[in-house]
């Protein structure tokens, strides 16, 4: 069973030449089949967590460990992490002009699976996944993310999730910028992947809205660079009712201590 272990993770970014610590000791274990929601206010570092695990060069890990099935993720290159079974659905997917979706998906699937998928079955696989996400087949001829609407970008991310079948999926604010219909379609895509029971999901969100469609097993409140409270799905309801004020208070106090 695949397990992602995050142990006392500290991460900094370069802020005008000075390292600025964003993650201040994150501990979390995500097992295959589980869904963890990470909720927190803007600027709490929850997206940094996702990007650090995926290996974005902007972030410097200054302490701690990330292990996937006991393997040291932090010593791997970005593409090695993906081939090891990590997937990051991005909040702002990047445009790659001149590279068609079809070419991109096939290149990616070839890299992840270690061999080129057989053309016949591949086309069927892509077409059926696109149909389920209510994507026009003409979509595959467009350049990756170029001129995509917000909803199209998110569908495209979830399409990749379905095709690449990772062990651990990190979904960074997949719900942001989606109308209700798109949110439902995208959530159904995530749920299809979850139903396989073969993926562990880390769902990062600011709002509880997506949790109506994707039921988490665990909810973690993220504030000031670490998890400050963990609970079951019921914790989301508390956040819905009470907001993050209680935790942002903690953040302010923490900063005072840190500065002392």
């Amino acid at each position: 069973m695949a397990t992602l272990e995050i142990r006392d993770l500290h991460v900094s970014v370069d802020a005008e030449g000075e390292p600025k610590e964003i993650l201040k000791g994150v501990d979390l274990t995500v097992r295959q089949g589980e869904t963890h929601a990470i909720m927190g206010p803007n600027g709490s570092g929850k997206s940094t967590l996702a990007y650090s695990i995926a290996g974005h060069p902007k972030y410097t890990v200054t302490g701690g460990q990330v292990l996937l099935d006991g393997q040291d993720v932090l010593s791997m290159t970005v593409d090695e992490r993906a081939r090891a079974g990590l997937f990051l659905a991005m909040q702002y997917p990047v445009e790659v002009p001149g590279v068609s979706v079809a070419n991109f998906l096939r290149t990616s699937a070839t890299a992840i699976r270690g061999e080129a998928p057989k053309l016949r079955t591949w086309v069927k696989e892509v077409n059926s996944a696109m149909a389920q996400l209510q994507m026009d087949p003409a979509f595959s001829e467009r350049s990756v993310n170029e001129g995509f609407s917000g909803g199209e970008k998110k569908r495209h991310e979830i399409l990749q999730l379905e095709l690449l079948k990772p062990k651990i999926a990190l979904l960074d604010e997949t719900d942001s910028g989606l109308d209700v219909d798109a949110l439902r379609v995208v959530s159904e895509g995530v749920n299809r992947v979850r139903e396989s029971g073969e993926v562990g999901t880390l769902l990062i969100t600011h709002y509880t809205r997506i949790l109506k469609y994707i039921k988490p097993d665990f909810v973690h409140v993220f504030a000031a660079g670490r998890i400050v409270e963990s609970g079951g799905a019921e914790l989301a309801q508390v956040l819905e009712d009470e907001g993050y004020e209680k935790y942002t208070g903690v953040q302010a106090e923490d900063d005072i201590k840190a500065g002392a």
Binding site: P57, R81, V94, S108, I112
Partner: protein, 404 residues
């Protein structure tokens, strides 16, 4: 306000100057007491002539030569005599004829006069121009091909493609081999004709090639003029577009890939002198290796009479390694406000780390991700050509460059 509302004479990098109609500009050239090294008020005032004597000797400090290392152009600016030969193969589908004519034939002076000394010297050095004619209303199913293989030495050429009204043609002019070459290439696009013209500079590494390309666009005619420059030690192409009547549409496309020490230069000029014409320029270049140098200059002039003009030019350069240099200079001069649109964009940058991260985060190894981005960068231009066989051949060339 310290800046005057009307700026006259701005031809600096990325300048947009709006001059009043008929704004006076001093003429330059012999007899005027002015030299070409002075910045002229308007691109439209730059002299053109078939006679080399009308051009001053080059110093390299002239506005239009300042990027070109004259030491490396094989004395083409000093009237070096021809001593080399080309192997030329013509592939002419039905409806297309070729003939050799002297400069007394008016077709050799129809598309435009030389804009600089090297083009004038090349014009003067050629006794017989090759005129290739696509008959009126003929719709070609196969491309016209002119394959030029340089066999060393210095040589001059003048090619005229005369596409008669309402004809439709794809014309490919391909350069391989080596030598020092200066050429004038004219494309006359008759009224209502549709032409795709592609000039491929696939020279060996030591070749020198300077060419002026003149395109004359007829009434309601459509032309795509494409330059593909990968080879050579120094290549300098100057495409010029003029319109004879309203309704002309010119799309100028280009891709270039400079390796170690190569100098690849493209200087475009779209001269809008009649109403309701359109021009689009999209040039993309990649550079890799030490002292790889590319130059792109895009001059667009919208004269006072050219109301309803629609123009946009774009240049993008991708620096794949340190030590390479890309110069990019769009110039837009507008003498009438009654236009549909006029704009330009220029950007030169390194690999986008975010693109690489995105592709790598999908399991694609870094070197493959880089190739994918460069392929995509060029595919974006290539797919606008609209001739599938050609597009595929060009993407194969891109692959070969990337494999170097």
């Amino acid at each position: 306000m310290s800046q005057p509302e009307q700026s006259k004479g701005a031809t600096t990098a990325a300048a947009v100057s709006v001059a009043g109609p008929g704004a006076g500009a001093p003429l330059a050239g012999p007899g005027t007491g002015r030299t070409h090294s002075e910045v002229l008020a308007s691109r439209g005032e730059r002299p053109t002539s078939y006679d080399p004597a009308d051009f001053a000797a080059l110093t390299g400090r002239e506005e239009d030569w300042r990027f070109t290392p004259l030491k490396r152009i094989g004395k083409l600016h000093q009237g070096v005599p021809a001593d080399g030969t080309d192997k030329v193969e013509l592939s002419l589908p039905e409806g297309v004829t070729a003939e050799q004519v002297g400069h007394d034939d008016p077709r050799t002076a129809k598309a435009g006069a030389p804009i600089d000394l090297v083009a004038a010297l090349a014009y003067a050095a050629v006794e017989q121009a090759t005129v290739i004619t696509v008959a009126k209303e003929s719709v070609l199913t196969e491309p016209v091909r002119v394959d030029v293989h340089g066999e060393g030495g210095t040589a001059y050429a003048h090619l005229v493609f005369d596409v008669k009204p309402f004809a439709e043609a794809v014309i490919v002019l391909a350069h391989t081999g080596t030598g020092v070459r200066a050429a004038n290439v004219d494309l006359i696009v008759g009224d209502g004709a549709k032409v795709t013209f592609v000039s491929v500079q696939d020279w060996e590494r030591d070749a020198v090639h300077l060419a002026q390309q003149n395109t004359l666009v007829g009434r309601d005619a459509t032309v795509k003029s494409v330059n593909v420059t990968f080879g050579g030690d120094l290549v300098r192409i100057t495409p010029n577009v003029r319109y004879t009547a309203p309704g002309g549409d010119a799309e100028l496309l280009g891709l270039y890939f400079a390796d170690d020490g190569q100098h690849l230069e493209h200087r475009l000029f779209a001269d809008h002198s009649v109403p309701n014409c359109r021009s689009r320029a999209t040039y993309k270049g990649a550079l890799q290796g030490d002292a790889a140098h590319t130059v792109w200059v895009g001059d667009v002039l919208i004269r006072a009479a050219a109301e309803g003009t629609d123009t946009y030019e774009l240049n993008r350069n991708l620096l794949l390694t340190d030590g390479a240099r890309a110069d990019s200079v769009p110039n837009l001069e507008i003498e009438t406000g009654e236009i549909v649109g006029a704009g330009h964009a220029s950007a030169t940058g390194r690999f986008d780390d975010e693109q690489l991260f995105y592709l790598q985060a999908r399991g694609i190894p870094e070197d493959e991700a880089r190739r994918l981005v460069v392929r995509g960068f060029f595919a974006d231009v290539v797919r606008r050509i609209g001739v599938p066989d050609l597009e595929q051949a060009l993407m194969t060339k891109v692959e070969q460059e990337l494999a170097r």
